[in-house]
């Protein structure tokens, strides 16, 4: 494997040259023997499973962490262990997964924050606006410099983050999972910007685990696994299958994964087969004329009606924040209805508590496992009964023997690693944490499943497993409402696809009639 790593470096210093970096956190090895070579004028994709050490390596490059061993060079200069301020001064900028913007300030104010142009004692705001405007024009980033950041869409906020880096003179731009929150047209726009940067001689490092993006935009690919760099190849002539194999270290059932719009023909045949074979069953989940408010009191869902039949996965695509969260919470009993009706197997859910809904056959994989899905400091065993605790009680209190037996069964059945029920959930990787939630919600008898972002932040191997579980439940006659910000996941799993925009389903189509290109405009409201 390491033979692939031969440095076919061109003449002149590389923009980025990281050699054999080691970084540990209190005994946890995040990087061991991680290397990265990127010449000027290239878009370089850094790929790998969750926990492969991509973000850590980039933080070492951006000066946020000092490596324990190894060497970092930028433009030929040894900068090992530098500080963020030094990195910024040297033109290395990083756009993080979570934005670091002040929502109450304008775009221009955010961009110049910390290095404001001054007029005497005061910040020269008009000049800041002018400069930001000029920068926008130069890079093709469209955003109003005088708009409040709080009013921006996620895609626009990300552009502000990029502007911030560029305003500080970044010639090396690092983007950590930039497309996780973007709609397809926004993704295309981002690619345009990145290509322009590259053509201007800049260097872009893109962290991602979406393989279609890698193929679409990058020039060269570096793959990391378990903290180390395992291979590096040119994008041209590489297939997603090659990349996936390098990431996981084995063959992956690729066309079933959320790895992008890979093999459309294979995709449509697999998901069409079960619907064709199974007769259409009765509606198990009925939502009628639903109106909901957001936490801020604004309308979040208006006049929404739909049904999910047994043996069917209804996939809801859409950019986050279009009422998906509120819809799920309302069905689960966590949010009051303004108006409307929700029925499960012909039983009215309004007025039932969360526990009564669970007893009626509702399972719920919540969208945020760290906030809702798990009590992180509880053990695996205790998390496996959350929401079912009333079933594990005797007159003398909790039935510890029953809880332990149940945990041992589920840990084995859903392959939760490490298989130690006494460990706190916090100690597990994201994929295994999600398996706890999946085991709890799908390991018991249920009729309707709400699955929100079931594979968010989960590595490729676990995605494969979770998708297989969802398909098996569908084939067993369960009704599944799948909500995912990842369009390729919806396309890979759903029998019918609905696009949610501003609290409504703007379209509902059979899977066979869908494609990313077709749904994209609906997701941004352009085709509503």
């Amino acid at each position: 494997m390491n033979a692939v790593l031969s440095t076919d470096a061109p003449a002149g210093p590389l923009a980025i040259d990281i050699e054999s970096v080691v970084k540990t956190f209190g005994g946890v090895v995040a990087n061991r023997d991680a290397s990265l070579q990127v010449p000027h004028g290239e878009i370089h994709a850094l790929v790998g499973e969750n926990g492969a050490g991509k973000s850590t390596l980039m933080r070492v490059l951006a000066g946020m962490y000092a490596p324990d061993a190894g060497r970092v060079r930028v433009n030929g200069q040894d900068v090992t262990g530098w500080k963020t301020t030094e990195a910024i001064a040297a033109g290395v900028g990083m756009v993080h997964q979570h934005f670091m913007l002040v929502p109450t300030l304008t775009v221009a104010e955010n961009v110049v924050l910390g290095i404001e142009p001054r007029a005497g004692w005061q910040v020269d705001l008009p000049r800041a606006v002018r400069e930001v405007e000029a920068l926008c024009r130069k890079c093709g980033l469209h955003v109003d410099p005088e708009a409040l950041v709080a009013d921006l869409s996620v895609g626009e906020a990300q552009r502000v983050e990029i502007l911030k880096a560029l305003y500080r003179g970044a010639r090396v731009l690092i983007l950590d999972e930039p497309t996780a929150v973007l709609s397809p047209p926004e993704v295309q726009e981002l690619w345009t910007v990145l290509r322009a940067l590259r053509d201007d001689g800049g260097t872009v490092v893109l962290i991602t685990h979406k393989l279609d993006e890698v193929i679409a935009v990058s020039d060269t690919i570096t793959v990391m696994r378990a903290g180390a760099t395992v291979s590096r190849f040119a994008t041209a002539g590489t297939t997603p299958r090659d990349i996936a194999r390098a990431m996981v270290g084995r063959d992956v059932n690729l066309h079933l994964d959320a790895l992008g719009a890979v093999d459309a023909a294979a995709l449509s045949t697999t998901s069409a087969a079960p619907t064709a074979g199974a007769p259409r069953r009765d509606a198990r989940l009925v939502v009628h004329n639903l109106h909901l408010r957001s936490d801020r009191g604004t309308p979040a869902v208006s006049d929404l009606s739909f049904e999910v039949a047994g043996g069917e996965i209804l996939g809801v695509a859409g950019v986050e924040g279009n009422g998906q969260t509120e819809l799920l919470e309302a069905i689960a009993g966590l949010r009051p209805l303004q108006q409307g009706r929700i029925e499960l197997d012909a039983r009215l859910l309004s007025g039932l508590s969360v526990r009564q809904r669970a007893d009626a056959g509702l399972s719920h994989i919540p969208e945020d496992r760290h906030r809702r899905g798990l009590v992180l400091d509880y053990s695996i065993a205790d998390n496996l009964i959350l929401g079912q605790q009333h079933r594990f009680t005797t007159r003398a209190g909790l039935d510890q023997a029953h809880i332990q037996r149940h945990a041992a069964e589920q840990v084995a059945r859903f392959d939760i690693r490490p298989p130690l029920p006494a460990l706190p959930a916090r100690a597990l990787s994201g994929g295994n944490q999600q398996k706890i939630v999946i085991a709890r919600e799908m390991g018991r008898d249920f009729g309707v499943l709400l699955a929100a972002q079931p594979t968010r932040g989960v590595d490729v191997g676990a995605i494969e497993f979770i998708h297989a579980q969802l398909r098996a439940a569908r084939d067993a006659g369960k009704a599944i409402l799948l909500i995912s910000a990842d369009l390729s996941e919806v396309l890979a799993l759903a029998d019918r696809v609905a696009v949610m925009y501003r609290g409504r389903f703007v379209t509902v189509l059979p899977r066979q009639a869908c494609s990313a290109e077709l749904l994209g405009p609906y997701m941004t409201g352009a085709a509503a």
């Binding site: 005994g27 906030r371 009590v375 209190g397």
Partner: protein
């Protein structure tokens, strides 16, 4: 899957995980106490005294004679109750600063019922009634901030602090206008519902204040442990404290858990009032709480919000408090107050740090284990 090697690794890891958990619970306060001891030494040296002599005197005046032991146990009783009160609310994610008022109210409730009951009533009936009156009064005072938090989202910290003033002033007013003996701020003697002192059973303790309420406090600690860690209510209560959103998702009625745990917290503090009123003096006296409610916060902090830890930590603080009187001869009595403060500060600062270190150690064990498993899993497949 891959046979003995994997299961062996899993077995040893579960053992080390348990050991690490135990270490994580016990080690931080112990380290903090060592730090406090060193600072105490420096303090004593600054008075020109020998630390060994002062500590010897402190031990002699507390654990060195039956009377000292009795006094320490008496103080331990109240501190256990107020420590448990803080911990129970704390486990539900609530910060109950109101134990002082709840303690006083509990003592007053017991006294009121004790005075009202006919003096001929057998103790077997009168004692449980009075104890219940104390706990109910404490629960009532505790429930007010609980309900305000659950219903309106009012900060329980502010409400409990303010309520302390209101309750203490109210009790002072009631006692001084209606219930006091002339020239005092105490009620008449209670005849029904008083509890035996330790000296009634073991003559050596004669003169000391320790009494049967100690057993009630220990029972309360055991019951709190059982409730927190062995019942569904405790499971739900702790979930609310750790992650209210996850608890709500798990079908827990979060507001209800909030106000009931505050009420229960108040009941435990109220039980502490019985110690003075029915166990020691046999009457209610204004101001008897004397800061034991506030000290309960420190007791719970050092005891890591664990009922058994709290009993040990209450013993420590009671020893320091009683020891202050013993060392008064050679150093100012305030030395032990300072020592108490140093203990609290060092626990507050050292515990998170020691915990961080332990977590890191646990994480590296985990990482090694996961690697071992991945390699063994890889071989199997």
């Amino acid at each position: 899957m891959s046979g003995p090697s994997a299961s062996g690794a899993a077995g040893s890891a579960s053992l080390s995980a348990t050991t690490l958990r135990a270490l994580e619970a016990v080690l931080p306060p112990v380290v903090a106490l060592c730090i406090a001891a060193v600072i105490g030494d420096l303090l004593i040296l600054s008075f020109g005294e020998s630390p060994a002599a002062v500590y010897a005197l402190l031990i002699k005046g507390t654990w060195g004679n039956p009377y000292g032991i009795g006094q320490v146990l008496y103080k331990t009783t109240t501190l256990t109750c107020t420590g448990l009160a803080f911990a129970l609310a704390g486990r539900a994610g609530l910060f109950n600063v109101g134990a002082e008022g709840q303690l006083a109210a509990g003592g007053f409730g017991a006294a009121l019922l004790g005075l009202a009951l006919p003096s001929g009533l057998p103790g077997l009936l009168a004692v449980p009634l009075c104890v219940m009156a104390a706990m109910l009064t404490g629960a009532g005072v505790g429930a007010v901030p609980g309900v305000l938090r659950a219903r309106f989202g009012a900060s329980e910290v502010i409400v409990t602090i303010m309520l302390n003033f209101i309750v203490l002033a109210l009790l002072n007013w009631v006692v001084s206008t209606h219930l006091h003996l002339p020239e005092t701020l105490r009620t008449p003697d209670i005849h029904a519902g008083t509890l035996p002192r330790l000296a009634d059973w073991f003559a050596v303790f004669s003169g000391s204040a320790a009494n049967a309420v100690l057993l009630l406090a220990l029972a309360a600690a055991a019951a709190s442990w059982w409730l927190l860690f062995r019942t569904r209510s405790g499971y739900e209560l702790r979930a609310v404290g750790l992650q209210p959103d996850a608890a709500e998702y798990g079908g827990v009625h979060v507001p209800r858990v909030m106000w009931t745990s505050m009420a229960l917290s108040g009941a435990l503090a109220g039980l502490g009032g019985v110690n003075f009123v029915l166990g020691y003096k046999g009457y209610y006296e204004d101001g008897f709480a004397g800061g034991a409610g506030f000290l309960g916060i420190a007791v719970a902090l050092v005891g890591r919000n664990h009922p058994f830890g709290i009993v040990l930590s209450a013993l420590l603080f009671a020893t320091l408090s009683q020891g202050g009187l013993a060392v008064n001869a050679i150093v100012p009595k305030q030395l032990t107050d300072i020592l108490t403060a140093v203990v609290i500060l060092s626990v507050a600062t050292a515990v998170p740090e020691v915990q961080r270190q332990l977590r890191a150690a646990a994480a590296s064990t985990m990482a090694a284990l996961t690697r071992a498993q991945q390699t063994s899993g890889g071989r199997a497949s």
